[in-house]
Amino acid sequence: MMQRTLAIFLVATLGAWPAHSLVFRRAVTQPIAFNHRLHVEGNGLECVECHVYVLTQTFAGLPSLERCLECHETAVTDSAEEEKIRELAARGETLVWKRLYEVPDHVYSSHRRHVVAGGIDCAECHGPVAATTRPPARPLRALTMDFCMDCHRRRGASNDCLACHV
């Protein structure tokens, strides 16, 4: 009886856990241990050079294999991770990154609107991704509704339901 009560209690509390909280999030492993810091600080690349749709679309886009090969056609370093790119290309496969930041289907959020019209820096929502040396296993910021609405309130953006929930 005691165990059953405990089980019901656990299910009830965990079931009510906010879906986008960072606790209990399954860790994401990427196909390549990409080093953001090396590319951004070391080589002065901008986020939008690999996430190419940020300025024009609702989605940001993840770098394609072709994009990587533009610089990594031949070995730049002696890293085994870098070699994976050319191995994939040799096998004719594509690079499948796993999405880290995702909003549910009932939320409409546009990169173009936030970045071009709002002039917001990537790190505001995504956290210090540019300073990481390996791919984050979990999002660095929890994109909860509170998080969005607080920012909208601060910046005087619309908090009308329909602005995000179409």
């Binding site: 609702t58 289907d105 009932h106 609107r113 019209a117 339901c161 329909l162 929930h165 179409v166």
Partner: protein, 227 residues
Amino acid sequence: MPRWGMVIDLDRCTACRACVVGCMQENNVGFAGPEQAAMGRVIHWMEMLTVGEGEYPNLRTHTLPRPCLHCDHPPCIKVCPVNATNRNPDGIVAQIHARCIGCRYCTAACPYTVRYFNWYEPSWPGEMAHALNDEVSVRPKGVVEKCTFCHHRLVRAREQARMENRAMQPEEYQPACAEICPTRAIFFGDLDDPGSEVAVLSRSSRALKLLEDLGTEPKVIYLKEGE
């Protein structure tokens, strides 16, 4: 703030139902299937109502394309216990599916029967499932949905105008039904701009508001058929 409204000219309407199909396509409205349809659970945000008139042998059928009328005094928002439906600053009656608890009070309150409850998970045959509009969320089972005046198109038009650093023109925002109507029977625009086409038509002698005596002040105005 513009007050978006629609004028439907029943003289021009041929009841071809292009608006009905266009709306389903634009807003990811699923297909009911024969069993659900038999139970009257088909969802049409834009529905072609038929009204019979007269006595045999002098019969006549009227057809009436009916979207949500986006009333200025909507009965539905007064009864919603969770504020899932409200009248937003643009005067559009919003339906926030993530908030809806499916109690269907609004469905009962709406005198125009524009609200539909999802009795089943939406489904699309074959390839259609891959052709959804990604600007509109797919509604789950158990929530109420209705026409939104294609609000996502307003959002898109506003965003485009902002990108180009100019004011948005009212003609940039047209719902799918108005855009697709082959006889141009559906006019859409700002009712508060006295010179706009919808405002001029709404003052015409043929203008008619459905169930006007209820005081809901619908923003969809019909132009009566000539005899």
